[in-house]
Symmetry: C2
Subunit: 86 residues, 2 copies
């Protein structure tokens, strides 16, 4: 399935969250990842995320999409062009 993951975590945990997500999805922009994942891999990722973040202050949102997005448009700088996404 296709996912967009956004996160808003305290500074001291940003690198760890970012490093973990890079192993599963494509970095798109600060605090934003997207890509295809199996449900098993997503479950694994969610478990690891829950081990890193502080649920009292940090927030991670996982959007499950109906297939890939219908459109993706960038205004301004394209920090990670989609065509570089597998």
């Amino acid at each position: 399935m296709y996912y967009i993951i956004v996160y808003d975590v305290e500074e001291k945990r940003v690198n760890k969250v970012c490093k973990l997500l890079r192993r599963y999805l494509h970095w798109v922009q600060n605090s934003v990842f997207e890509g295809e994942l199996s449900e098993g891999k997503l479950a694994e990722l969610k478990f690891k995320l829950s081990q890193i973040i502080d649920p009292e202050v940090d927030s991670v949102i996982i959007y499950t999409l109906w297939g890939k997005w219908k459109g993706r448009e960038v205004i301004g700088l394209n920090k990670n062009p989609v065509d570089s996404l597998i």
Copy 2:
């Protein structure tokens, strides 16, 4: 149509971008908005965004979805519960 908009802009422009987006969509988390918009309203929003950001350094990504997302899951703090979204 349903949209998720994420942005990564220089500090001095964050408030302006956030204030503009609040007039069209629902704030979900820092730098993340979502919601339903007509294509006309989206075109209007995009024009206004392009007047604010510096395209050389700022990045705004507009995801157009096939209807609303299939799923939305929060790990940690839910900064703007979905049920408060119209």
